[in-house]
Each structure stands twice: as structure tokens, then as C-alpha cells.
């Protein structure tokens, strides 16, 4: 992809401004694109596709190294971003106003569609914020729900249940179904549950001792994939607290973790991953995944220093 070399300058300017993405709302490739555009007030087409590609591959490799293997959802998400970026770049390379043949026209249309898609995505994101505000407002009003006055109910004809027994049972079934997303029950499994809080303590201990460790080393004594995942989550949480740095000198290389936190004392471990009763459900996995691009953010900075 030789077009990438042209964007080298643009990347330098990205590095000069702190790349500080708030990831609590991150959800999907359009989000990442939007954040790149809006936070840096830059043309999306100036992003180096090769750097973004390297970051994603490194990220996927890190997962692979952790024993997690390729995660299909993350890999496909990457492909969507890469394809979108590629289309945008291709469209940008067209000289504006000089449409010579039908292929040019098609590319311009592709660009329009991509931007329209982004704009549409952003519109729904903003609308969602008004939904949250409306729900909050609606929650502040309480409906008057009162029993019929006994004097009045004495006037009533025989009560009509209005449904037959099967329909009545269906209603009971619906109402009695817990109103939370179904959670996979794991009580019947014999694996002991892994605690991120606990693994976080081990990670902190190991890093304080060795200062720098590769993720591979950090997980060398892990006896299950769950432990590796828990340590990975613990690392993300510690990174968020600013207690460590990630380094990955070359794409696809080892992920090095350096301790930058205090040498003593308790490091507060987030217990958000340690959910009682169950494994993470889909939504929570999605949320955990959404946080992982913090790695990318760090890599981008590191990569920039090396350029």
C-alpha cells in the first residue's frame, strides 16, 4: 500500500496533540472513525492506513498470544474500519472537480455514501442522548393509579378476565420472566470462577518485582484461558489508572508491560468485571471489547516516537 507513505506528515501532527480518547462510549468502527475526525479536527483521509492496520493486527496478535485466539467479532470490526478508511482514501485521491470517467464518479459516490453513513451514525448517537434525557425526565413523574372506590365497584357487573387459561398462563410466563438479559448460569460447571480483582493483585505483584514483563511471561503460569483473560482485563484496568505502560516496538511483536505505578500499597482493583453468579454476558463482553482500543491509543503514541 504505497499510498500510506504520503500520509506520514499528517501522522506527525496527530502525535503533537494528546491522543486522549474517552472510551466509555466507544462502540464500533464508526465510533472510532468519528473520534479520529472530531477530536483531531482532521480529515479522516489523512490517517495512515498502514499505522491503523498495524495497530489492529498488533491488537489481534496480543489476543492470540494471550491464548484467546482470534476473536471473530474484533477481526471483522477491524475489516470494516480498514475498508472504510481505504474507501475514504481512495475517494480523496481524486482531484476535486475533475471527474474524467465513470470510475471517478463511482468513487465520489462511494465517498458520499461513507460520509453520509458517518453522519447518520452521529445523528443517532446524538438522538440517543436526547432519549436518555427524556427517560430521566419521564422517571420524575408518577402516574395516579388508584383502586376503584368500593362504592363504585359495587356497581360493576361481573368481572371479565377477558382471556382464556392458555393466554393467562402466557401472561404469567412473560411477567415472571426476570427483566434482565438472560445470564448464563454456571453453578453447574465445576470450573472455579476467576476473579479479576484477584488476578489484578498477582499482576501488580509480578510487575512490581520485575518492572517490565511481556504479556507472555505474565501469563506463563496461567492454568486456563479464563485466567489469561482476567489478567488481560486487569492490565486494561491498571492502564486506565495510569499504573503501567504498554509497549510493542514492532507490529506483531511481544506486548511489553512496564510498571509505572507506586511500589507499595494497595492498588485499587476494579471489580466491574467480577460479576456474581455468572460469566460475562454478551453485552458485557461487548463493553469489555469496547475498552480494549486503549491499547491502540498507546501504541499510536509509541509508534510516533519511533518514527
Amino acid at each position: 500500500m504505497d499510498i500510506e507513505s504520503q500520509s506520514g506528515d499528517a501522522i506527525a501532527t496527530i502525535e503533537s496533540s494528546p491522543f486522549n480518547v474517552h472510551l466509555d462510549n466507544f462502540d464500533g468502527p464508526f465510533d472510532l472513525l468519528l473520534q479520529l475526525i472530531s477530536r483531531h479536527k482532521m480529515d479522516i483521509t489523512e490517517v495512515s492506513l498502514s499505522i491503523v492496520t498495524d495497530e489492529f493486527i498488533a491488537f489481534i496478535r496480543a489476543l492470540e498470544a494471550s491464548g484467546e485466539g482470534w476473536r471473530l467479532d474484533q477481526a471483522t470490526e477491524f475489516l470494516v474500519i480498514a475498508a472504510t478508511l481505504l474507501d475514504l482514501k481512495a475517494a480523496r485521491l481524486l482531484p476535486s472537480g475533475e471527474i474524467e470517467d465513470e470510475e471517478d464518479l463511482a468513487l465520489l459516490e462511494a465517498r458520499d455514501i461513507l460520509f453520509a453513513r458517518l453522519l447518520q451514525y452521529r445523528a443517532f448517537k446524538e438522538i440517543a442522548a436526547t432519549f436518555a434525557a427524556r427517560i430521566e425526565a419521564a422517571d420524575k413523574s408518577f402516574a395516579r393509579v388508584v383502586a376503584l372506590d368500593p362504592a363504585l365497584s359495587a356497581l360493576l357487573p361481573e368481572v371479565l378476565i377477558g382471556v382464556g387459561a392458555p393466554r393467562f398462563a402466557a401472561i404469567a410466563e412473560r411477567v415472571l420472566t426476570p427483566k434482565t438479559p438472560p445470564v448464563v448460569a454456571v453453578e453447574h460447571l465445576h470450573t472455579s470462577l476467576v476473579s479479576v480483582t484477584e488476578e489484578s493483585r498477582r499482576v501488580v505483584e509480578a510487575l512490581r518485582k520485575s518492572r517490565t514483563l511481556s504479556f507472555r511471561n505474565l501469563c506463563s503460569d496461567a492454568d486456563s484461558t479464563l485466567v489469561i483473560v482476567a489478567r488481560f482485563l486487569a492490565l486494561l484496568d491498571l492502564y486506565r489508572q495510569g499504573a503501567l505502560r504498554f509497549e510493542q516496538v514492532i507490529a506483531l511483536g511481544e506486548l511489553q508491560i512496564s510498571w509505572t505505578g507506586s511500589d507499595e500499597g494497595e492498588v485499587a482493583a476494579s471489580d466491574e468485571f467480577d460479576i456474581p453468579v455468572s460469566l460475562l454476558d454478551d453485552e458485557e463482553i461487548a463493553e469489555a471489547v469496547a475498552e480494549t482500543p486503549e491499547l491502540i491509543e498507546e501504541n499510536e503514541t509509541e509508534g510516533g516516537e519511533n518514527v
Binding site: 378476565i161 398462563a169 411477567v175 415472571l176
Partner: protein, 183 residues
């Protein structure tokens, strides 16, 4: 708290409660003296002149009622309207009681996720549900369905209620689930 604000708060409370509320309770919640609350209630009462509702104190508790002069339309509405048909809320509450009886009101509330006080009272008034002793641990009143309920649903006994899917939590598990929700 200025008087208009006090009156407004009292209106808001009385509009959504089903049980009459005493002046003492209002005074305690609103952090006012009973005299101030009584004065506010009297002001409110005066301001409802000509409206279709009014405030009444019964047994020391205040509540909104429709105005006696409007009883004809209210009765017509109750008879004409689909009031002999159970509302969705009543139907859902009845379903919970039928399948989980005997059950306390608090537990039905927890399952349905809303306050069921008024609906329970309607079900009792309509003769579909009745009290059935006290819960030993909490002393809460337990409710069960009546034989009139079976008759209206066209069943001979509770055993004829269609079975529910086996995956639904029973009462014991339900408590755990509910607890995990509020933790």
C-alpha cells in the same frame, strides 16, 4: 419552603397515593409543622372550587376524590367503559398471584417492577383475590386467588392452570435473582 411550594408538594403526593395520608405524615416528610400543613390543605381545598375533584379527609387521612356532584358521569364511565374488563396491569398482577400464591404484595411488586398497591386492592374488591394469612418471617399479608377467580377463568381447580415453562425461577430462586438485580 414557601407556602405555594408546600401546597404544590402536597398536591403532588396526594395525586399519586392510593391510601389516605395524614397531616402528621405530610408534616414529617415535608419537614413542616402540622399547622402549616393544615393551612396548606385548607388553601388547596379552596382552590379546587368548581373543579371535578376535591380533597377529603377520611379517618384523619387526606386523599383526592372525584367531586360528589360529578357522580353521575363517573358512574356512567365505570359502567359504560370497559371497567368490567380487567386492565392489563390487573391481569398481570393476577397472573403473578395465581402462579405464586400465597404471596405478599411486596413480592408481587418486586416481580412486576411497579407498585401494585392499587391494583391489588381492585383485585380484592372484585373478589378475585383474598387475604390468606401472614408470612411467618415478615408478618406481611399473603394473598391467594379465590374460587370466584377459578369460576371466571373457567377452571375447576388451581391444578387446571396450564403449567409454566420449567425455566422460570420459582420463588426461592426468585429472591436470589431479585437480590442480584439490586446489588
Amino acid at each position: 419552603m414557601s407556602n405555594p411550594e408546600l401546597e404544590r408538594s402536597i398536591e403532588a403526593i396526594l395525586m399519586v397515593v392510593d391510601e389516605p395520608v395524614t397531616e402528621l405524615t405530610l408534616a414529617a416528610v415535608l419537614e413542616q409543622t402540622v399547622d402549616e400543613v393544615v393551612a396548606a390543605l385548607e388553601n388547596l381545598l379552596g382552590s379546587y372550587e368548581g373543579r371535578g375533584f376535591t380533597l377529603k379527609a377520611i379517618n384523619g387521612g387526606w386523599r383526592f376524590y372525584s367531586h360528589p356532584e360529578c357522580s353521575t358521569v363517573v358512574e356512567k364511565f365505570v359502567l359504560d367503559g370497559q371497567q368490567n374488563r380487567l386492565t392489563q396491569a390487573a391481569l398481570e398482577t393476577l397472573a403473578v398471584i395465581a402462579y405464586r400464591q400465597p404471596v405478599s404484595r411486596a413480592r408481587v411488586s418486586a416481580i412486576r417492577g411497579v407498585n401494585v398497591e392499587a391494583v391489588m386492592k381492585t383485585l380484592v374488591t372484585r373478589g378475585l383475590v383474598e387475604e390468606s394469612g401472614l408470612e411467618p418471617e415478615t408478618g406481611a399479608i399473603l394473598y391467594k386467588t379465590t374460587s370466584y377467580f377459578l369460576e371466571r377463568l373457567g377452571l375447576n381447580s388451581l391444578n387446571d392452570l396450564p403449567a409454566l415453562a420449567p425455566y422460570l425461577p420459582d420463588l426461592d430462586r426468585l429472591d436470589e435473582v431479585l437480590e442480584s438485580l439490586t446489588d
